[in-house]
């Protein structure tokens, strides 16, 4: 069966503010999923908490609107338990790089086959406009009345430096491009990361909305960037915060084996050697003898 984008649209009406960038992100995800061709019931969509984390509910995939900052470990548990599922993970910049920041590095180095989409609006939307880890220095918000003193996290460099094998960026201002990178990320075997510049119309900066995105965005392809070149990718990723590069920053030319592949290989090694379930106690007895000896 061939799915159309609309087959991934659920009956829930999004309760995002009118004009929120996340509307475009969910549209792009419908398109990407239709292009990938997996059925809704083969897909699990895990999110944390935030405006952006509502997104699984607006799709027909299995949804898991989980705990603030914990989408990645939950998604990893899910994928390990059922490796046949296509697992998407999504959330906000706060969810992913503040409270959940510690999990990102470990998801990357474990290389479980997930696609992590961050809707980066440089603000806390759901809790009404506080500073986010990607807010630019000096930004005045309700929790930084005289302007933030901290440097923003650069999500692109963050994941690149931990060795993420697939790193891309998009904006709903370029819907076709965004759908294409999400599709490519899903198809990539291993951990893939897509940073989406998805403006918050209510609390975000007035001069960083879709209109401005459209005016300044530059596709990496048009710059002649070679996505196999990780050093070039890191150089371009430095532009985060003042330039808007779209497309694939880095795609590992030889994708490293995924966690799942390594587990399967180890299980293969054990094949024939593993005891059947009902003989589990023998294993225990043998271990005891071993330590007694």
């Amino acid at each position: 069966m061939n799915c159309q984008p609309k087959d991934f649209k659920s009956d829930l009406k999004p309760i995002w503010c009118p004009g929120c960038g996340d509307f475009g992100v969910v549209q792009a995800i419908y398109r990407a999923l239709a292009a990938v061709g997996r059925l809704p019931h083969d897909i699990a969509f895990v999110s944390g908490i935030g405006c952006s984390s509502r997104i699984p509910g607006y799709t027909t995939a299995y949804g898991f609107n989980s705990v603030h900052g914990r989408a990645l470990p939950i998604a990893q548990g899910l994928k390990i338990a059922n490796p046949d599922l296509l697992v998407l993970v999504a959330g906000g910049d706060g969810d992913g790089f503040s409270i959940g920041g510690g999990h990102v590095a470990h998801a990357i180095r474990r290389n479980i086959d997930l696609t992590y989409i961050v809707m980066d609006n440089q603000i806390y939307g759901l809790t009404k406009g506080q500073l986010s880890p990607t807010s630019k220095q000096g930004l005045q918000t309700v929790t930084s009345s005289l302007g933030s003193l901290e440097q923003p996290v650069n999500p692109l460099l963050y994941v690149l430096s931990y060795g993420a094998p697939f790193v891309a960026q998009g904006t709903p201002a370029d819907m076709a491009g965004l759908a294409a990178v999400i599709e490519e990320a899903i198809r990539f075997p291993g951990f893939s990361f897509v940073n989406v510049q998805s403006p918050c119309v209510t609390f975000g900066e007035d001069d960083w909305q879709l209109k401005q995105h459209k005016a300044v965005m530059k596709s990496l392809q048009s710059l002649g960037h070679d996505p196999a070149d990780v050093i070039a990718a890191m150089r371009l990723a430095q532009g985060y915060g003042h330039e808007l590069h779209t497309g694939v920053f880095y795609r590992a030319p030889q994708p490293p084996p995924t966690y799942d592949a390594l587990v399967r290989a180890r299980q293969q090694e054990q094949a024939g050697k593993a005891l059947p379930r009902e003989r589990v106690l023998e294993l225990f007895a043998a271990k005891k003898k071993e330590t007694a000896a």
Binding site: I49, I99, Q130, L131, T143, S144, L146
Partner: protein, 500 residues
């Protein structure tokens, strides 16, 4: 010229190894260096270090000296001293005795007391509960706020974000509640006043750190503006963290004074007092508000004085006087940890005197309604309505939930034949009440409950109906017995009298 040839020196004996067990980290690097198996892994934990030092069996030792090089510890395995040691001198220089570590005698730290500064009497303010609490913290001298945004508590943080930078204070939005509590741990260790605003899911996440702070005896104020749970629940008011605050402050033997304000005025006053008690007992204090109270505006009178904080002598204040202070919750030796727990228990027992409650119209009440936080406001309305209808009703409002004001409750109940517990949780307030009554040996009259959860608050008419139904209900068990609680046990030791 005299030569020494006539008196040949005896062949010098070579030193064998020597070890002070508390300076051995048990790394076992030395074991393989000895060909004569003189060094063997130890079995017993050294209570001074928590490590397992090796044991020496030197019968076969040839004093070859190979083991000295194997030991990486500068004061670990070392050659014994063969020459005579003059009396009064230590056998060897322990690292802690080394001259270069000796310092001139230091001044002893002393408590620098707080100073009360008169507050020019201002007008009565109209404030949101969360804002009132934030102002209470400022008046208590708190200048260090850490927090992570979470509805419905964030207004408190947002007000402090505005005010603290103008007061030379620090407002720092942490990356999570785990970070928040540990930032507080650090600031509290420096002897300064620190606080946070959070709400239920965030409070859950802080509990590990709260346990550490209790163990290390550090003061801090946690304002938990409770919302609907479990899980993400919703952002509407609930009282479902009573259990967490009273019985579940992280792992180990933990307790903290738990306040339950019910007006914006109390949000201010109790936050102020929370700092005082936190420092008095060197223990965190929890303010349990609810989402409704946090958002509700009300008239608030400012106190007559504000606090200019001093510095407690235990602070890690970074000067010579405080050099010996150590903030730690680690007690590796079992006996030490037990002693520490006994010390904490004594402190918890002393906190009993902080129990506070309000009894309203309980003197002649036949039915006493118990409620705290926002539900207490509805309960107050219900009491007034019942009185109008000629029913002798009273309100008992615990202001501390831990310690539970059980003596005050006993007094309020002196003439009552019925008790109605009103709460926005599935019985957590009732559980605290029953537990306190049971510990105090207080027999409770038949108890009825009016409960809601999920953000639905008990309403006045329900409480009135609940009280009337409780009064109308016939009581079969003799109310004068030791326990009026119906008990259908047949245990002769139970004391409920039901087995007769």
């Amino acid at each position: 010229m005299a030569t020494s040839l006539e008196t040949p020196k005896p062949k010098a004996r070579k030193p064998k190894p020597q070890l002070d067990p508390d300076l051995c980290k048990g790394c076992l690097r030395c074991i393989d260096s000895c060909n004569h198996h003189c060094l063997v892994p130890g079995h017993d934990i050294d209570p001074r270090t928590g490590l397992i030092p090796i044991e020496l069996h030197l019968e076969a030792c040839t004093a070859c000296g190979l083991c000295f090089d194997a030991c990486p510890e500068p004061y670990g395995l070392r050659p014994e001293r063969l020459e005579e040691i003059p009396t009064g001198q230590p056998e060897f220089e322990r690292p802690t005795d080394a001259d270069h570590l000796k310092r001139p005698p230091r001044p002893k730290p002393v408590d620098i007391p707080d100073v009360l500064r008169e507050l020019p009497l201002g007008a009565t303010l109209v404030l949101k509960g969360n804002h009132a609490s934030a102002i209470g913290a400022l008046l208590a001298g708190c200048r260090h706020f850490y927090g992570y945004p979470i509805t419905p508590s964030t207004e408190g943080a947002e007000l402090l974000a505005k005010l603290l930078p103008k007061l030379n204070g620090i407002f720092l939005q942490a990356v999570s509640e785990v970070a928040t509590v540990n930032l507080m741990y650090g600031t509290a260790g420096a002897g300064l006043r620190t606080m946070t605003f959070t709400s239920s899911p965030g409070f859950s996440l802080m509990l590990e750190g709260v346990s550490y702070m209790i163990g290390a005896e550090l003061p801090a104020v946690f304002v938990n503006v409770m919302r609907g749970g479990p899980g993400l629940g919703n952002i509407a008011p609930e009282q479902a963290d009573i259990k967490l605050a009273c019985r579940g402050l992280g792992h180990g033997n933990t307790h903290a004074i738990v306040f339950a304000p019910s007006t914006p005025q109390e949000m201010l006053d109790l936050t102020r007092q929370a700092f005082e008690l936190a420092f008095q007992y060197r223990n965190p204090v929890v303010l349990l508000a609810d989402g409704y109270l946090g958002q509700m505006t009300g008239r608030v009178e400012l106190p007559k004085a504000l606090v200019q904080p001093g510095l407690p002598k235990w602070a890690v204040a970074g000067d010579a006087a405080h050099r010996d202070n150590l903030i730690s919750s680690i007690f590796l030796a079992e006996a030490d940890l037990e002693a520490h727990n006994r010390h904490l228990d004594d402190k918890y027992a002393r906190m009993a005197r902080e129990a506070r409650a309000e009894s309203w119209q309980c003197e002649d009440a036949e039915v006493v309604i118990v409620a705290c936080n926002t539900p207490a406001r509805m309960a107050r309305g219900a009491v007034a309505e019942l009185r109008q209808r000629g029913v002798k009703a009273g309100l008992f409002r615990p202001i501390t939930l831990w310690p539970f004001p059980i003596d005050a409750l006993a007094e309020a109940l002196s003439g009552a034949s019925r008790l109605v517990v009103v709460e926005a949780s599935a019985g957590q307030l009732e559980d605290e009440l029953r537990l306190a009554a049971s510990h105090a040996g207080l027999a409770l009259p038949p108890l009825a409950a009016v409960r809601h959860s999920g953000g639905v608050l008990p309403q006045q008419d329900e409480i009135v109906a609940g009280a009337l139904a409780a009064l109308a209900r016939e009581v079969t068990a003799p109310t004068a017995s030791k326990s009026a609680d119906p008990c259908d046990c047949s245990d002769p030791e139970c004391g409920c009298g039901d087995e007769e």
